[in-house]
Symmetry: C2
DNA sequence: GCAAAAGTGTTACAATTACACCCATGC
DNA sequence: GCATGGGTGTAATTGTAACACTTTTGC
């Protein structure tokens, strides 16, 4: 095989893995021990294998940082191509958005931790801005798809879901209205169980789950809907 | 430079260039004269240059098929990585969505033509499915952003805009409601001119234009809006 | 005058938000 | 009993769709 270096490029995959931890939307980052950017925090990822697809590659690399079973949703985000994004030389990077349910407590390597996305530490490369893209994608999709299923545990109370949506959206969400919107759209179904209140009292909370553990679009046309025909 | 072929990949860019022609949403395709896929229709594009960004590359390649000035909007769509997507060998492809206003009549090379996206001819590679992704992205954004500006001429009547939205969305759109929705959102501003009716008569139509020739999000939260605070 | 196309007024409908009020439990 | 969190009923608000009607032109 003739090798024309100028027209072939190293390609890496990166994961913006988001989850609500301690009430804040957080990203999974690991701390670099080597140059460049020693000590700075980076998105998990790695290089694309020879006969591998991008989605497969990102899942493979994420598995080294987090139990891959915990990732409830994974979708392609964008591809970065700035020739100077890596000081060592040109590397194309395709980023994916991954979501981990709140409540899951996957074991993490020592160099890896969750960081709230609105207070990221100093990041390596362009990873800070890629994480921001991931957050924007999540926020946009929360209101017109069922993407929230991937941030919530299997079963949950409305208050728990309210806190999750609030953390992801970055503003307060009313439990009352959240419940009704999701029930009307048919994405939420009640289980028959309830959860005992905490020591401070209160009525036992009903437990719900998402009807479907896949991404569904529930509000395709915000305007200009097709007629009844 | 040592060349490790297994970890470097050729990378191409592709453009899903859409425009409403003769009342139908159409994609710009060119007919292949060489193997593979001789005679089939392909998306315009080409390889990524050594120190080039993806967006720059796609603009450069599109310029060979269409007057680049006519492309009013260009955004990254997705990156395809199936190792078998090109029978000659592995090539990664990053697709962009480009929009050309209706009414623009750019000169096209002999091998290039507009094809309605709901009746595409036999396409080369995975280009048919990439074009479909482009159409889906456009449809989704039409109802909550001002992306329509890039499909419409500088100035237009509501009926013309109705036809453009109808073609892009794939269903009838009422001129009455289209006008009101866009006026209320403040994205449409009336000019003071009118257009004479056609020979079949009718009241002269008022001429409008978009307030802003950039992509704006007008309906960020379909639900779970932040409160007035 | 009549047909055709454009545009306006009004009503109807749907989805979401806001808020008052009732419910069930622990202490 | 009463504080606390959970949940329901109902109204208010907003946004969109439907449709009748008026306006302005060509013939």
């Amino acid at each position: 095989m003739r090798c024309v270096a100028e027209t072939r490029y190293p390609h890496e995959v990166l994961g913006v893995v988001l989850s609500v931890r301690d009430g804040r939307l957080s990203a999974l980052l690991w701390r670099r021990a080597e140059k460049p950017f020693v000590g700075r925090w980076a998105l998990p990822g790695g290089i694309l294998g020879a006969d591998e697809r991008l989605g497969t590659a990102v899942a493979r690399h994420l598995a080294r940082k987090v139990d891959i079973q915990e990732i409830a949703h994974l979708e392609q985000l964008e591809t970065r191509s700035d020739p100077k994004r890596d000081p060592r030389g040109r590397v194309l990077a395709t980023a994916y958005l991954g979501l981990v349910p709140a409540g899951a407590e996957p074991d993490l390597p020592d160099d890896t931790a969750w960081h709230p996305v609105d207070a990221l530490p100093r990041t390596a490369f362009d990873h800070g801005s890629i994480a921001e893209s991931g957050r924007a994608r999540l926020r946009a999709k929360l209101s017109y798809t069922t993407i929230g299923y991937a941030l919530a545990p299997d079963t949950f109370t409305i208050s728990q879901l309210r806190d999750i949506y609030g953390a992801a959206l970055g503003h307060e969400v009313s439990a009352t209205n959240l419940q009704r919107v999701l029930l009307r759209r048919g994405v939420l179904v009640p289980t028959n169980s309830t959860v005992a209140p905490t020591r401070s009292g209160g009525r036992p909370a009903a437990v719900y789950r998402f009807r479907d553990r896949n991404l569904l679009v529930t509000n395709e046309f915000a305007a200009f809907r097709p007629g009844p025909a």
